[in-house]
């Protein structure tokens, strides 16, 4: 009962006219929230984290693969993003291999069968120690993911890391709108 009375008093105090000393006032309270834009790279079977995603390659023979998703962790749909790729040689004097990134469009990479349930689209190759891959024309809604496969060239023995950093800028979400209501 006490709680009910307190809630009622709170509601009344939130929106009440008052008259005192030759003045009259009216108050009303509301909240405003802003959205956010954010995409993160998340490895298969890894917990999402607000951090770069690092792949450690140790290639002896054949082609090595790594699967990850680009997850829209924000509250707006995202039309594009910038994937910054940094590759670092692990030991030796060579340089990191080229790494190719393929999107499984409208589908998901199956990590067991190494197949794409949608359409496989090559989105770029990191050829230097620092590369950038631009994604555009996306319509990645809040909470949605892009399924990506990274792969090394065949039969080049090498050990290196590939670190992915995802940038989303303001112009990769919708423009401002005017709402009347």
């Amino acid at each position: 009962m006490k709680r009910l009375v307190m809630v009622l008093l709170l509601v009344i105090s939130m929106q009440t006219p008052s008259i005192a000393g030759g003045r009259s006032t009216w108050s009303s309270s509301k909240s405003v929230t802003t959205g956010n834009w954010s995409v993160i790279a998340v490895g298969v079977n890894q917990a999402p984290a607000n951090a770069p995603y690092t792949i450690t390659w140790s290639v002896n023979t054949g082609i090595a693969y790594n699967f990850f998703t680009l997850r829209n962790n924000g509250s707006f749909s995202v039309s594009g993003l910038l994937l910054n790729v940094t590759q670092v040689q692990l030991g030796g004097s060579g340089k990191p291999n080229n790494t190719t990134f393929e999107l499984c469009q409208a589908g998901v990479w199956n990590t067991s069968t190494n197949t794409c349930s949608g359409t496989r689209v090559t989105i770029g190759t990191a050829t230097d120690s620092n590369s950038s891959i631009i994604f555009s024309g996306l319509n990645l809604s809040s909470g949605a993911e892009l399924s990506i496969r990274a792969s090394t060239p065949p039969n080049i023995k090498n050990s290196y890391t590939t670190t992915l950093s995802v940038d989303v800028s303001r112009n990769q979400i919708r423009p401002g709108v005017v709402v009347n209501s």
Partner: protein, 219 residues
């Protein structure tokens, strides 16, 4: 030696005696000294009523009944409310004060030194009711009542440009809240420092007016 005792009369006996004498004189004198008196009065009582001052607010459309969510830079949300002077007295100095708490970058530009970062409120009026779905003031005249101001600026009561409201008058207001367009880049899900993203502000709008200036009337 003989002792002589002087018996003094109590002063209270003298006072009591004087009072009794005066009372007797008054009773006897009434019959002798009656005077004439005349009285005039209004046969119908004069009523004096004090006026009252009442400001009421009604939502026109959504008005202040709903929160505003998920604003993006460049967004403008127009909400419509109608003030009415519901009292018998004319009102003057109509003002708006906002009490806002929450994310500092949304309250004031001073947080990161930007000149156009925080939320801005613009108040306009129309001489007729706004259409809240289209935002039009058909057949009326629009007046900017309060220029675009941050919520921290409006923490001081600010008079509307047309701040008088006669008894029974309406004021049709458009409350236009804007998040200025601005660039921010989020890297790996980490929001930039002093960001406007993911913020929350609770705003209390308080309209206030005073009674008209007191007058002296001869009639």
């Amino acid at each position: 030696m003989n002792e002589v005792k002087v018996k003094r009369k109590s002063p209270w006996r003298l006072v009591a005696g004087a009072v009794m004498a005066l009372s007797a004189a008054a009773i006897v004198g009434q019959g002798v000294l009656a005077s004439l008196n005349a009285t005039a009065f209004n046969t119908v009582a004069e009523n004096v009523n004090s006026g009252d001052l009442k400001l009421s607010l009604a939502n026109n459309g959504v008005g202040f009944s709903q929160n505003i969510n998920n604003l993006a830079p460049g967004d403008v949300v127009n909400r419509y409310v109608t003030l009415k002077n519901d009292g018998s007295l004319d009102g003057i100095n109509l003002s708006l004060k906002t009490t806002a708490t929450g994310t500092p970058t949304l309250l004031s530009d001073a947080v990161n030194g930007s000149t156009n970062q925080a939320l801005r409120l613009t108040v306009s009026s129309c001489t007729v009711a706004w259409d809240p779905t289209t935002g039009t003031c058909t057949g009326g005249t629009i007046t900017q009542e309060i220029a675009a101001s941050t919520l921290s600026t409006l923490s001081n009561a600010t008079n509307l440009s047309s701040s008088s409201m006669s008894s029974g008058a309406f004021k049709y207001l458009k409350m236009s809240l804007q998040l200025p367009d601005q660039n921010e880049t989020t890297i790996n899900g980490t929001l930039p420092s002093n960001t406007v993203q993911g913020g929350t502000v609770a705003i209390t709008y308080t309209f206030d007016f005073a009674q008209r200036v007191a007058t002296t009337t001869n009639s």
